[in-house]
Symmetry: D3
Subunit: 162 residues, 6 copies
Amino acid sequence: MPVAAMYPGTFDPITLGHEDLVRRSSALFDRVVVAIASDTGSKTPLFSVEERLEMARTALSDIDNVEVRRYAGLTVDFARDNGLRVILRGLRAVSDFEYEFQLATMNRHLVDDVETLFLTPDERYNFLSSTLVREVAQLGGDISGFVSPDVNAALKERLGNS
Amino acid sequence: MPVAAMYPGTFDPITLGHEDLVRRSSALFDRVVVAIASDTGSKTPLFSVEERLEMARTALSDIDNVEVRRYAGLTVDFARDNGLRVILRGLRAVSDFEYEFQLATMNRHLVDDVETLFLTPDERYNFLSSTLVREVAQLGGDISGFVSPDVNAALKERLGNS
Amino acid sequence: MPVAAMYPGTFDPITLGHEDLVRRSSALFDRVVVAIASDTGSKTPLFSVEERLEMARTALSDIDNVEVRRYAGLTVDFARDNGLRVILRGLRAVSDFEYEFQLATMNRHLVDDVETLFLTPDERYNFLSSTLVREVAQLGGDISGFVSPDVNAALKERLGNS
Amino acid sequence: MPVAAMYPGTFDPITLGHEDLVRRSSALFDRVVVAIASDTGSKTPLFSVEERLEMARTALSDIDNVEVRRYAGLTVDFARDNGLRVILRGLRAVSDFEYEFQLATMNRHLVDDVETLFLTPDERYNFLSSTLVREVAQLGGDISGFVSPDVNAALKERLGNS
Amino acid sequence: MPVAAMYPGTFDPITLGHEDLVRRSSALFDRVVVAIASDTGSKTPLFSVEERLEMARTALSDIDNVEVRRYAGLTVDFARDNGLRVILRGLRAVSDFEYEFQLATMNRHLVDDVETLFLTPDERYNFLSSTLVREVAQLGGDISGFVSPDVNAALKERLGNS
Amino acid sequence: MPVAAMYPGTFDPITLGHEDLVRRSSALFDRVVVAIASDTGSKTPLFSVEERLEMARTALSDIDNVEVRRYAGLTVDFARDNGLRVILRGLRAVSDFEYEFQLATMNRHLVDDVETLFLTPDERYNFLSSTLVREVAQLGGDISGFVSPDVNAALKERLGNS
């Protein structure tokens, strides 16, 4: 029963928490597609979608059954169109949970046979988010413990405090 | 990549919400073991473990790759000893989430290579729990919309309001 | 459009938070029935249902359109059988909310035309619960600010620290 | 005891969840005023207040004791000035609850004799919000199951994917 | 063991809830530094950092061991550089709690020997936030019960409804 | 300004999470009294209060300004009677938060000048609780990573699986 999974997000940038979740999932599914949204609504991302793709590809290059792709439009449409039967989402906090729950229910209404599965990150990464990492980096904090070396270098260069 | 999953619980009794979750999971994993705990700590279950096993087997008999078994001891020990690499849990509410999160983290510490995955039930079953079903049945309410006909009959007989 | 409401609970004992909620509701509905459950499941109440009725009647005797009654069985059955179209519940905290939400949904399934409405207590009473009041009284604390004088006297007598 | 209620919001656009809540409330109060805020703070609505009024009026035209009006300024001021003694709010999730609780307490401080009452929507609409409906529509998803036909048509036209 | 504490925030403007928390803390620590962030990220504050400093200084002038200062950069860097071993934060609601928890964990990673301590405000101020105060004032509501007289006057002047 | 703090609890048994919290606090207050409740309400503890005292004393013996004591009655009464101006509590999860908030507010009503301060444990211990440790030990799991060696030995002996 080969099952492929989609791990959608903005990944602005990919953190060690994301990497941990991809590694865990890649052991459970035949294929994991890390799907980076080019549409970010009203929020302007710090990195372009091309930069986000490249950072994710570099960070995950050692895992065989993982592929990094960009997408636009509805997450469930991408899943269905690419034969991905599972949407993976990380759960850290109660507020995550509520939004994710609302989204998973909506997605089930839109496309019936794609299932959302949730994982909890390693507790070492439980407080991490791309938003918090960007904020700390913007204020000059050391984020080397939260992202891979390439991402750290990219953040320093972008924020001009290399 | 054949992956087998464990869906542990007390199932006192199995509800339509449980059944929904098993059906969804059976489409994603090679095998799903519904594992009924004989240890229920300080709580005395309404049905014996044998009765709970039989009700679950009857309710799920039409799904090929599902097996109903009893277990004692730690959930993660059963998973590891039986080659089940995934523990499945339903998430309905925030309070579920917190307890489940604590448990998933503890389980990961105890056995590193068993992963906990969470599903949300169909929104029609989101308010359902075995506890609530028992309470309503004990007060004489009609629970035929929440459990399968066999379970409904068993509850009526047990509570003497058949 | 005369609408009568039911305010169900254990009221073991009635607190100033309950009184506040009854007073507010009595201004909005033609009649408010404070309905005290004689069934308390596995929990043994501190006061008998007769004592709880009397304390509530004394505390609420100055409000014209309020009636205190006992009931057994399902809350929604009592509401429907007595022409009470609204069930009132107080909401203090998130954990209240989740349980109440589950209950309200179940009740709507059981009896379709009884609606559950939630109120928030005055913030002075937001931390109050009968359980907490009993615990503080049992440990010898002064609870005169949280219950009416009659209830305070009854608690002191029952707990032998008058 | 004729009591009139206010159901305030942005309604950008009105969803089947809103309609469900208005229908339920109209059976409990003599009059329900659906009050559409023209002030939306820093958020630019997708539809003008006139469009939102018209969509709501069309969707609710079959209910006798419901009136749709626009308002500016404080919600409690509108309630008090129009003799509306109840503010109705829908509760879906914990995060709703906290914000609503804060708001209800503030409103009680501002105008003492207007009471906030909360309802939970039918579980079929529990995951719905105007924001989510707009997002799905903007990404080309089918939202015909979540809004009335007129609103669906208006959304398609506005977003240019009719 | 003289311990100094930092109470960081935007204070746009300082409310009676903030004042209550500073008063309580000043009785427990040798020195409390109210630290007003000049960096407010993407949010434009209503008052300039100089105005926020002056309002806070006026409101807190009667407490001896309290000092009001501005800061930029990471909160933990300011704490460490000024020998402040405690960061104080108010907790009102669950959503506060989650964000604060994430922040406290991140801060502990960044600077190991600065501890975050949380207080709950007096229940009279539990619903208060600078954001809610600004919103009510902008809509013409009376906020004199939520801020000190000077802040009230400043808000009226700024919003042109004096 | 010498300030002494009380860290109350059941400590059945003391975990590494508790130890972490005491160590952090002992650096911030002149004296920390770990106060073990002999009253455990309706719950029968696994260890007697004498055993719990001895385990805590052994685990904390290397910290100079920490004292382990038993107490009965209200927590705030013990604090006031012993000149302890701070009650320390650990916060792990949202459900902790709500109960603790309710308790802190009640305690402030009972004794005005004792302040409750909350700490978050190191994220390595965030999922730990005495209850979970007991449950895992009772089911034969290895809890050596969650408690000190003496407590581990005591648990094994008590549960007969040494």
